[in-house]
């Protein structure tokens, strides 16, 4: 059943094949024989490409099946071929054999076609492959090219031009200064490259100009140098002649009594002064000349020694080095020798450290009344400080222990400026220098070396501690701020302070002499004030000064009633202290008095202690406290007229006596106990207010009355 249609189809294919074969065989008949093969091949190739290989495959299978069925049929027929109509059978068999053979032809054809196809596809494949290879090559080439180009690009980008290193003038300035022809603002404003070029050009131009200028100046410099050289030669030639003239004129000078030579010699000596003293000498001399004829400035000391010291100082730098070398290498050999001389060497080093320069600057400050003060400035070469020795020359001798003490050399200039007591060296390094050779504090050498006041350093141009000096000298400081902590003397420092120091010393001398006279009088038991201010006190004062004696700072500090004043730092170590005892009847008032070292700028401080019906002081009795206030706070009322400072201490003391009178008289008036002291001072009320204050304030009206504050 199934085989039937297949058979039919087979037939049609066979017919077609036949048709095809016939059609194919027909045309080559016309072509020449030699080309037949070629033609056939060409035709077959065309056919192979025209036909669908899928269909050919189906055809091939069918053909194979047909052949199989034919074979089977033939074998069947052969099997049956046993006798009966064998003829028929044989015919069938040959018939079928023919059919099968034909089918083989078809198979052959198909096979051939297939061969062709395979060949063509293989060719095509090869062709494609070649194509692909060539493309690949091309691609490689292109990639390489890209890489190369990229490298080139980065090279370009990394390129640095020389002009970037040149510092150009800013653009605004360039446009302002460069000529129009160079700057071409119409182009360069928009084109930054052009702008750059233009700026570079301008730079070049300018540099060229400057180079020319430089050359010119150099030439000018050379000519000037030559001129100087020639002039110097001329001057050098002049010196011997001048010397001759001087030599010749000396007798004339001596004859006429001109001090020219003396001054010159002083100046010559000044050249050998150490730097700080030289600064001091120059400044002080200048000040003397300009402002203060009563001042004398002189150089004294051994000039020869100074010269040799200078010589040795010049060598010392070299010597010191070689010295230390020797110490190292020659140590072993010299050890024995050394042991002997060690103490000597140390002694020598000590001496050398404390060495004073042989020259001193002596400044004498004279007052109108003939009293004078001599300041000898020494310079300690290795400690780098200036010290002062003071000598007071009086027209009139001062007697009395406490009075003399006030103008004693070690005392008179103490605390010329606040805190400047001169107790230790202002050069902090000295402490270590002294320690290294086993010497004591600087303070213990002051009697020998002189007092190292800070102002002495400053007038010599030395400024050790900017900060400290500021508080000491206040306003004169401004200009010297830049010379902060230097060892080299600075003229500015000296300039800034010479005048103020000289004035301060003069004032101090005056004040001290005045104070001296007062103390001298007080020691003798006299309390007197000049007539001009006598009216500030009542005419009759009953209290008297029974004793006056100096006491030490420790005595003052350790007294039981002074604690408040000491703690408030109203008095300190540099001041001078006295104990005054005032007496009236059974009442005894002890006043501990602290005369400030800058008296009378700061008034004297009183601390009172009354012994009368018990012990009274500012610490337990408000009336005594008020009395103390009267002296310590309201002292300004005692001040009046010119020269008040000269008698302030006496005035304060007189005031204290008046106050004690008032206290005693008013106490009698308030208590119910019988008054010991008659009331002879005039006051309206003995006490006033809740504090029961006493009428200590004195008014000059109506013959003098006392009122409450």
């Amino acid at each position: 059943m199934v085989k039937e249609p297949v058979q039919e189809r087979d037939n049609t294919i066979k017919k077609r094949r036949k048709g095809v074969t016939s059609s194919t065989s027909a045309p080559p008949a016309k072509v020449p024989e030699g080309d037949i093969y070629k033609n056939v091949i060409e035709f077959e190739e065309a056919e192979a490409s025209a036909r669908d290989p899928e269909k050919d495959m189906v055809l091939f299978r069918k053909t194979c099946d047909d052949i199989r069925t034919l074979m089977e049929e033939i074998s069947e027929l052969k099997a049956k071929n046993t006798g009966v109509n064998s003829e028929q059978v044989l015919a069938d068999i040959s018939e079928k054999r023919v059919q099968a053979s034909l089918l083989f032809v078809v198979l052959k054809k198909l096979n051939r076609l297939e061969k062709f196809r395979t060949k063509t596809s293989r060719d095509t494949l090869n062709r494609e492959k070649q194509q692909v290879d060539s493309y690949h090559l091309q691609l490689q080439n292109l990639l390489y090219e890209i890489l190369h180009l990229k490298k080139e690009v980065t090279k370009c980008l990394q390129f640095k031009s020389k002009d970037e290193e040149i510092d150009l003038v800013p653009v605004e300035e360039f446009f302002k200064e460069a000529p129009e022809s160079l700057s071409r603002p119409d182009v360069t404003k928009n084109d930054s490259h052009q702008l750059k070029l233009a700026r570079l050009e301008w730079e070049l131009e300018q540099r060229k100009q400057l180079a020319v200028l430089c050359q010119k100046l150099q030439a000018a410099k050379e000519t000037v140098a030559k001129e100087i050289q020639s002039k110097r030669e001329r001057l050098d030639n002049l010196t011997p002649r001048l010397k001759n003239i001087l030599e010749v004129t000396r007798p004339l000078q001596d004859y006429l009594g001109l001090p020219l030579d003396k001054i010159r010699r002083q100046h010559q000596a000044a050249y050998h002064l150490p730097k700080p003293l030289y600064v001091l000498y120059v400044q002080a001399d200048a000040y003397r000349e300009a402002c203060d004829p009563l001042l004398t400035v002189a150089v004294s000391g051994d000039e020869e020694e100074a010269r040799s010291l200078k010589q040795s100082a010049d060598d010392s730098a070299a010597a010191e080095e070689s010295d230390s070398d020797q110490e190292d290498c020659g140590d072993r050999q010299k050890r024995h020798h050394r042991k002997l001389s060690r103490t000597d060497r140390l002694e020598e080093r000590k001496k050398r450290l404390l060495l004073r320069h042989p020259l001193t600057v002596d400044i004498t400050i004279k007052l109108q009344d003939g009293n004078s003060l001599l300041l000898s400035f020494n310079y300690l070469v290795h400690l780098h400080v200036v010290t002062v020795k003071i000598r007071v020359t009086l027209a009139q001798a001062v007697h009395g222990i406490s009075a003399g003490d006030l103008i004693a050399p070690h005392n008179i200039l103490a605390a010329l400026f606040p805190h400047d007591l001169g107790l230790d060296s202002p050069n902090v390094a000295n402490h270590y220098q002294l320690q290294s050779v086993g010497l004591e504090d600087f303070a213990s050498y002051i009697p020998e070396l002189g007092i190292p006041f800070i102002w002495a350093q400053r007038v010599a141009g030395l400024d050790f501690m900017g900060a400290r000096a500021t508080e000491i000298m206040g306003s004169v400081q401004e200009s010297s701020k830049e010379s902060y902590v230097t060892m080299e003397p600075q003229t500015v420092v000296s300039q800034a302070s010479v005048e103020s120091v000289m004035r301060a010393i003069r004032q101090r001398l005056k004040a001290r002499l005045a104070l001296c006279r007062q103390v001298q009088a007080l020691e003798a038991g006299l309390v007197s004030v000049p007539h001009a201010i006598r009216s500030n006190f009542p005419a009759k004062i009953c209290t008297s000064l029974s004793s006056w004696q100096p006491i030490s700072w420790d005595d003052f500090r350790q007294a039981p009633h002074t604690q408040a004043l000491v703690q408030a730092q109203c008095v300190n170590r540099g001041d001078t202290f006295y104990r005054a005892v005032l007496a009236r009847g059974t009442a005894k008032l002890t006043a501990l008095i602290g005369v400030k070292c800058d008296y009378p700028r700061t008034p004297t401080v009183f601390c009172l202690h009354l012994n009368w019906h018990g012990e009274h002081s500012a610490g337990n009795n408000d009336a005594i406290r008020d009395m103390e206030r009267e002296l310590n706070v309201h002292w300004m009322e005692l001040v009046g007229g010119v020269g008040w400072g000269n008698t302030l201490l006496a005035a304060q003391l007189l005031r204290l006596m008046a106050c004690l009178d008032v206290f005693l008289e008013s106490s009698g008036a308030t208590g119910v106990s019988p008054p010991e002291f008659p009331r002879d001072k005039i006051f309206f009320q003995p006490v006033r207010g809740r504090s029961r204050s006493r009428p200590y304030k004195y008014l000059r009206v109506a013959g003098g009355i006392f009122t409450h504050r």
Binding site: A564, N632, R692
Partner: protein
């Protein structure tokens, strides 16, 4: 140069109406204002032993400030010859105090000195100011218009202190007497003279009475004579306090106790029978003023002849010391 504050004397103190400021006046005419809230606030880590004033203002240079009194709106300052009123708002808020008014104390034409206003009281109920003055008189002014309402005369010397309770007023004077006044009557009702009593007299100190105070049943006074407690109706000395002082300047009742101070190293906290509850060490040589308040901060402040002010919060020991310096 000796700082004048070393000899500072404080005669009066007062609290602001809100209670958080303390005002202190000295004899140089300056008033220091302290912020108590700030000073007493606990937990302040860096408590310096001496606290400074918030600010100062000068009422009148070198005219002593004798008394200070607080009313709701004004601070009254008793000075020499006048009472000035200052608006509290300008003191506590703006630190720029403004003078609001002043009342002149009437003086006799022949008087050479103006009288000090040594002690002042303010009566809230009738709005009157009582001023015990240096001319031996007590003046009563109306706060509303500043007019003098009444003058009470009788003392022979100046008035140290006055105190009132209800309509009863007591005055202590330099003449050694303590006088009791009834505001409804013209003359004084009673006089006490402690210096006449052997138990109380201290002749070396004088007869003056520096302070007097009243309670319902008791009268407290002291000065040159010893501090003493008197029974008001019988006017007998109940207790004579044996204190180590040389003059009493402050005496007051507080909560069944007696507070007293003066020229003594201590401020005393005493019982009516004479026992000492507490001795508070004083920074001043003499205590001239002590003020206390309960609210908003419980504090007592004592000051006198010193630039320091002692503060105690529990009335038995010294907590803090303020200084007048700025």
């Amino acid at each position: 140069m000796v700082d004048k504050l070393l000899y500072n004397t404080i005669l009066s103190q007062t609290f602001s109406p809100c209670g958080s400021y303390l005002l202190v006046g000295n004899t140089y005419g300056d008033i220091a204002v302290y912020d108590l809230q700030k000073i007493l606030s606990p937990g302040d880590g860096l408590t310096p032993s001496c606290r400074k004033a918030e600010y100062h203002f000068s009422v009148k240079q070198d005219v002593q400030i004798c008394s200070l009194v607080t009313t709701e709106k004004f601070l009254l300052i008793g000075m020499v010859g006048e009472i000035t009123g200052w608006d509290w708002k300008t003191i506590t808020y703006s630190k720029n105090p403004k003078l609001a008014f002043s009342i002149q104390i009437p003086t006799a034409k022949d008087a050479l000195e103006k009288p000090d206003v040594n002690s002042m009281l303010y009566c809230k109920t009738n709005g009157h100011i009582y001023a015990g003055c240096g001319d031996n008189k007590i003046y009563i002014f109306s706060l509303e218009d500043g007019k003098l309402i009444r003058t009470m005369e009788g003392h022979d010397d100046y008035i140290h202190s006055i105190h009132n309770i209800g309509s009863q007023l007591v005055s202590a004077s330099e003449d050694g007497s303590v006088r009791l006044w009834d505001l409804k009557q013209e003359a004084h009702t009673n006089t006490v003279q402690p210096y006449l009593s052997d138990k109380l007299a201290r002749p070396e100190l004088g007869k003056w009475i520096g302070a007097a105070s009243l309670s319902e049943d008791w009268l407290l006074c002291g000065g040159g004579p010893r501090l003493s407690l008197w029974h008001l109706r019988s006017l007998d000395v109940t207790t004579a306090f044996q204190l180590d002082d040389s003059g009493i300047h402050v005496a007051m009742f507080y909560d069944d106790r007696i507070m007293a101070g003066g020229a003594s190293p201590y401020f005393y906290n005493l019982s009516y029978t004479g026992d000492t509850y507490a001795q508070i060490p004083s920074s001043s040589i003499s205590v001239y003023t002590a003020v206390f308040q309960e609210t908003p901060l419980k504090v007592m402040c004592m000051a006198g002849s010193s630039c320091k002010i002692d503060l105690c919060t529990n009335f038995s020991y010294r907590d803090q010391i303020l200084t007048f310096a700025s």
